[in-house]
Subunit: 498 residues, 2 copies
Amino acid sequence: MPKEEIINLALRRGLFYPAAEIYPNSPSGFWDFGPDGETIRRKIVEFWRNELVEKEHFVEIYGAQILPEAVFKASGHLDSFNDPIVQCNKCKSLNRADKIIADVTKGIVPESMSTPELDSLIKKHNVKCPKCKSDQLDKVKTFNMMMKVNIGATGDLTSYLRPETCQSIFLDFARVYKTSRQTLPLGIAQAGASFRNEIAPRNTLLRERELGQMEIEIFFDPDKINDFEKFDDVKDYKLNLMLLKDGKVSKVKCSDAVKKKIVSGKLVAYYLARVQQLYERYGIPTEKIRFRELDDDERAFYAKETWDFEIETDLGWIELIANNYRTDYDLKGHSAGSKQDLSVVENGKKFMPHVFEISAGIDRTFYVLLDNAFKKEKRGPEERSFLDLNPRIAPYLVAVFPLVKKDGIKEKAEELYQLLNSYEFDSYYDEKGSIGKRYARVDEIGVPYVITVDYDTMKDGTVTLRERNSMEQKRVKIDTLPELLWKLHLGKTTIKEI
Amino acid sequence: MPKEEIINLALRRGLFYPAAEIYPNSPSGFWDFGPDGETIRRKIVEFWRNELVEKEHFVEIYGAQILPEAVFKASGHLDSFNDPIVQCNKCKSLNRADKIIADVTKGIVPESMSTPELDSLIKKHNVKCPKCKSDQLDKVKTFNMMMKVNIGATGDLTSYLRPETCQSIFLDFARVYKTSRQTLPLGIAQAGASFRNEIAPRNTLLRERELGQMEIEIFFDPDKINDFEKFDDVKDYKLNLMLLKDGKVSKVKCSDAVKKKIVSGKLVAYYLARVQQLYERYGIPTEKIRFRELDDDERAFYAKETWDFEIETDLGWIELIANNYRTDYDLKGHSAGSKQDLSVVENGKKFMPHVFEISAGIDRTFYVLLDNAFKKEKRGPEERSFLDLNPRIAPYLVAVFPLVKKDGIKEKAEELYQLLNSYEFDSYYDEKGSIGKRYARVDEIGVPYVITVDYDTMKDGTVTLRERNSMEQKRVKIDTLPELLWKLHLGKTTIKEI
């Protein structure tokens, strides 16, 4: 679906909109999620937790968002978490050097490129200031994206908002390893916000200054990267891999990816498979999915091997997840920085665990799921639009509509709403306007089921249950509803089977 | 339970611990939540959402945590969100003036007290520096608790981390009011982090620099504060009110609170009742609950009427929720600040909605629930400790234990774990050590049910189901487990009824 249509839907229904939008000149790159958007966003995380974190026996933490300076000295972020920027000497506007070069050359500018290299590219391609069109661009400088916060009465406790949630995971590794009594491999997950002072936030939820991440760091013994029992469950599963050598997407069996050394080992192939399966279950068609292999120049400073998990949208391929083999970079850095030995002893061997990371964007997933789910269809003379969302991602499982507000029907509908609430179903209540308009409104935000309370309900205790995609309706007894909705939510039955 | 025992449990089991604890001199007031702590914390929010937000048809948003300076000029926080601090001229240490005076006088120092008033109290009571014991305290100064963040390539977009989540709610009111098509009263909720540069963070989760809040702002027509139909549901319900006039807790019927003008109107009494009921359902005994009426000096700068919801713990009465009648303070301020008219038109009348706020602390609720749930009991010669948590707050609904690791029992237990996962039950798996020790470990973190897979399971498909408090065990068929656990979770059946 075109970006404009998605933004239009988002603003019209309050799914998401700029933070502090009533104030002029509020900084860009900050977004608020309105009622239905907040719910979808939360369910994206719950789905990840249930379908990946819990299935794989990972554990989850919740860490503070502000961390002291020493952490980011050790992590390398104060030195290396930089963007190249260039100022126009004429109009004084600042821009990301790599971005304005890429706009002119229509190519990708490697993250690792030095400032002199960028200077010569600007010269070579005669890149001009995108604002005033002058050619008076200054030399390229590096710009650190960390956001500083001064803590304490004299502000002397220099701290930073975390640029990635995973730093808490590395800091907490020793305690979690000890208190969870697990042996390696141990996966530690966290969902939350990260903060990056982007020069050029853009494309709504795709490039933000405050961004939602759901990250998993899997700590393992590097000698055992191929000693991984669960691998057998996925050995015949096919990964969509876009390899550097030919730039094409090939379907590669996990067992072949390991055998041909396309990935570092079974553990890596296994989790790539789990990532692809997760997004297939979210509702993304397999053909819109690829893992793009990154070369040395493109990878982040801490990564030895990176597979960018990308999904095809109307805006092109969007990176949702960085799958990074971070080696022992982080634990080694924090061991040195904190003077605490973060190595472990297992089976008589002392070693520093290696880390494989699955770093997913929550807001990017949100955008891509909207792009994928937004459907329009002709039904006779009328067109309707709806979000074809997985019921577990939909903002509400069910909407409750009283046919009319009189004759006790409104009260009956409210009673039913409270019954569904007592079963923890997320329900939506609406009594305003015609039933047709109310259906259209909940279709548009992806609510999969609607219950209508009408005059028959008052007589025989039945209601109408309508499914979003098929628009099929069934008459069901209220006392069978809780179990039925539970199974519909879980995908353990369908409207056709009722 | 004494604070020391709670901290001991928290550190031993990784429920919570200082952020960046491996680094020496990390700033205090920041806490991380380990696996089981993260889960309990999340479930506290889910319970609030289900039992208050959704039951009352409130809507929920998720707002950016960083907001521009103009917002906090208009909200009054840049001028008024201050603590009084005093420096020692001898040892240079900084302290909160009201706190060190209160420590000496054993009394409460009103929030509204001016700096000269505090100076004279220090003189009158001969208050000394708490660190070096000298009497060379300087004049009291005001200290603003907002945390500043500079955004943009030149850092010229001065912004702040929000000191209360509700500011996004006020900023988003107009869009949510429009897009949700509701009429007033309209409740908008938000759960998330807030940030306050406290001089003296203390008592672990009770006074933090980064704190979790779950806030609800109810927008209403002030002329209709007593035109509130739902009030009848609570009119005979008794609130535990500690009134200013006598300083004692009295049980006051909601109808009397309104009639005697103890509260501003039916709407206020109704929501105070819902708050008290929410915490009773969390598991707090009624006699440990009170609403303390605040006088003019104690209230925050935006509040006309405040009821502090407090719970009795081993540390004394702890404030969990500020229930504030904020009037039109916020919408008026942001209308002026943003030059957008935030008033509404209903029934032909144009007016600025008033706000009643229910501002609850997530981390404080966590601490208080631990304090309340931590039990020790003698069973014969042995003592056991357990957390008597509501099953919906417990970190996991159920633990799955294979009796032994051999003869296919481990694989059967894993299969059962995955079955429970497919029903979205939060499950915990442990195969290490004796069954007795495993029971003790999950009791200690409050897991209400344990399933043991044993040799009989392999023969007849049954497992042992054990309840935490009664330690009662029942033998049940695996295929009945999903529905049974669902109803146990919801409190719709009990172990005795099986």
